[in-house]
Symmetry: C2
Subunit: 228 residues, 2 copies
DNA sequence: TCAAAAGTGTTCTTCGTACACCCATGA
DNA sequence: TCATGGGTGTACGAAGAACACTTTTGA
């Protein structure tokens, strides 16, 4: 059993982005080699002998998509036989969060195309990537409810309503504005700036807020736990 | 990057057991080959070309320890270079739960010895297994608070106090008996039998309870969520 | 009759939730 | 002046936390 093992190790990444225009989106590449040539798939590829798993993810993302990832966390490892028709490949998957200003894409040699897809309008995906994406979505939903990772999807300064809409988009349910504000404010890691939102249409401009990560870590040290 | 990848794939398992006598325990093997010959380590080994990751874990456990695993869940994948001094090995780790009556051990060819160690009296471990164990412990603590996995560590029928002591051992804090009973009973997946505990000493014998898994799944379907 | 462990209810506080009107701005 | 979206407080009910005495058994 310990001799002649012939299994390849890959990484794949589910990268989430959010804008209030587009909602919650996922970054996909169009494959330009077989198998699944022409299909949309998660960015990813084989791990180099000398690089860590995280480095491999970062490298693949920059090779294939050009995005700047802001938060990266290991998701799950998939190892079923037949998930890649060529060889036995186990894939260690990650999910990542990108701020809206890191949204510019450039498809590269390895990919025929790169695009953001709204989470509700996904194409058919190659391999078992549909299942991976589902796991990632569920994980993000859970994670956002007990750690303030949502801020990794917003600009540095944002109106409160952005945060609220983000939570509604990810959790896919309505949230009461007043209760949500009360709950988030209570923790004390959100700073009000004295700037106001720049408007794109009518309506009263909201105050801009900033997430104080330093403060959050202090509170976490003290055992205060975030929950939405 | 895609040519001549030379990385081995292994699985390792953190197996937890519980008895009120011994408290929360972890199953370790004594290595009989180098590196770390003579050190205690988590059971595990390389994955065969034709087996799933879960199968590999089950096989290693039965080869090395002879325990019957009751619940198995993937934990995390560790891939740092240097974690195995021989080759680049990435390890996909699992944690498992064993009922007290599956406690009999038999060390086998692959291991010089197998033993249960109380979680508070662990020896130095080989490789990065100390870190893996820490991740597993934290995961178990979290998991037990939102899914009733604790029952996988108890006999089929158990006095209520067993459940309570188990939670105290895993969470490492005091739990109020009355509040705990109220909370657990409320869910309705715990059945009271009309048998009573067999005593080992003085004290009033407790009623025996049984976990109704069927009922739990029904409740879960209805969106009722377990939380301690 | 004593020691050991199990069984059981009430009160108080905290948190979650439901809910509607006024304000600032651009068109 | 109208339409759009932001800002704000209160009241009710549910759940969590603190807390002590009685019962059953073996020695």
């Amino acid at each position: 059993m310990s001799t002649n093992q012939n299994i390849k190790v890959a990484v794949d990444a589910v990268v989430f982005g959010y804008t209030s225009r587009e909602g919650l989106s996922v970054l996909l590449i169009k494959r330009n080699i077989d198998p699944f040539k022409g299909s949309w798939a998660l960015p990813g590829g084989l791990v180099g002998n000398q690089e860590t798993l995280e480095d491999a993810v970062q490298r693949e993302l920059s090779e294939e998509t050009g995005v700047n990832i802001n938060y990266l966390e290991q998701l799950y490892s998939f190892g079923q036989q037949g998930r890649d028709p060529r060889n036995r490949v186990i894939s260690i998957t990650y999910y990542g969060l990108v701020k809206p200003d890191g949204f510019e894409l450039k498809a590269n040699t390895d990919a025929a195309d790169v695009k953001w897809f709204n989470i509700k309008k996904l194409p058919k995906l190659a391999f078992d990537h549909q299942a991976i994406l589902q796991v990632a979505r569920t994980r993000l939903q859970n994670k956002m409810q007990y750690e303030p990772v949502g801020f990794e999807l917003l600009e540095e300064k944002f109106p409160f309503s952005e945060l609220e809409k983000l939570y509604m988009a990810v959790l896919d349910r309505h949230i009461d504005r007043r209760n949500f504000k009360k709950k988030v404010s209570k923790f004390g890691f959100l700073e009000e700036t004295n700037e106001k939102q720049l408007l794109d249409g009518a309506g009263r401009p909201g105050n801009l807020y900033r997430f104080n990560e330093q403060k959050y870590f202090e509170l976490k040290e003290q055992g205060i736990s975030f929950e939405i």
